[in-house]
Amino acid sequence: MARKNGKPSSYSDYTLEDLRAILGLDNRKENLNLLHTLVPPSDFLVTTLQRNQVLPINTEKARAELLITPILVEWITQNPQKLQYLSGNTFDVEPQKFLKGRCDYLFTKHLSLDIVAPVVAIFEAKDDNVDNWYGQCGAEMYAAKLFNEQKNEPYPIIYGAVTDGYEWVFLRLENNVLLIDKERYYLRNLAELLGVLKTIMDFYV
């Protein structure tokens, strides 16, 4: 997708400037304080990730398949019936504001196979600098907020994350501000990363 007339054409070209100009969304760094407890990974997850890291992992697709999906699947399936995991779904919410496109990973409280409000978190996988993608993830999170409101399931807080598979930055949308966590979490410290994911799940269930 490419920008047209200085505007994004979909989520993937949204920048932080677009969030401000089109959606009136401010942003700042903040300590989100997401790590409350360590959650040790299963031996199974450790083995899977060790094995997968030997494979070529240069593209977003490879990172999603080999590094990101196994972690998110562990998070969701070890806490069954809490959040629904939806990978690669199209999420067209407000095309006039370019809030359309696919979300890499979208989580809802409703356990159906289609996207039902409330959408509570959206994570984006990338193969380059995670800092370049706060705009895209923020746009998807804002769309989630709008979607929830449209469906009469308003939710005050939406979580997000941008990851290249190795490094994770978590985001929170609250009071029309996109908060970007000062702290970063890493594949090499899975107990912390799974701990943060647990905090997010506990927040909603």
Binding site: L55, T59, K61, E65, Y85, S87, L113
Partner: protein, 206 residues
């Protein structure tokens, strides 16, 4: 009057007719193309992965690739460390013929492959609908793989491929000017046999 041939913009838009008109490749059914296939026992790790993943929605190509296809290819790679699946790489071989775009899973038998390396021996495409709609795309990628190998004077001329919707797999083989389409469909329901079929493809290059 010369026939005007429209060039597809990338692999994705290639149909069997394009393969014939642009690349001179015709297709033929191949009865039990990979037979005999030897069953391969399923490892505990793959069993656990697939059991876990089974409870999650897989309604599109991305989810199927992540939850079904890559775990299976990783399992076969663990038994054949020289055959690495390279996922989602851009494979632009002959842009003026539309032989460009992203190949879902490209297999190189170069043990050091980090990105697309010679020789490319097989290409697997994941789809979320009818397998038969994608023979043209997969065939075009296989044809490009052969061109890619030939440019490096590599003597691998037979390229394998498959199209999968995650549940069913149909294998293809490009040999000479013919794209062979296996009449047998392999399925995740018989996983030892499916693993054996992929193994059979790799054995061809050992």
């Amino acid at each position: 009057m010369e026939k005007i041939i429209k060039i597809p913009s990338s692999y994705r838009y290639y149909k069997l007719a394009d393969l014939k008109n642009i690349c001179g490749i015709t297709y033929a059914d191949a009865d039990k193309m990979l037979a005999p296939v030897q069953d391969i026992p399923v490892s505990a790790i793959l069993k656990t992965i697939l059991e876990r993943n089974a409870s999650l929605p897989m309604l599109n190509e991305k989810a199927k690739s992540e939850l079904l296809v890559m775990p299976i290819l990783t399992e076969v790679w663990a038994l054949n460390k020289n055959f690495k699946p390279i996922s989602g790489a851009t494979f632009n071989v002959e842009p003026r013929k539309g032989l460009k775009g992203v190949a879902d899973f490209l297999i190189s038998s170069n043990p050091n492959a980090r990105e697309i390396e010679m020789p490319v021996v097989a290409i697997f495409e994941a789809k979320d609908d009818k397998l038969e709609s994608w023979y043209g795309q997969c065939g075009a990628e296989m044809y490009a793989a052969r061109l890619f190998n030939e440019r490096e004077d590599n003597n691998i001329h037979t390229i394998h491929g498959a199209i999968t919707n995650g549940v069913a797999w149909q294998f293809l083989k490009l040999e000479g000017q013919t794209l062979f389409i296996d009449t047998q469909i392999y399925a995740i329901a018989n996983l030892p046999q499916l693993l054996g079929a992929i193994q059979k493809v790799y054995n061809f290059y050992k």
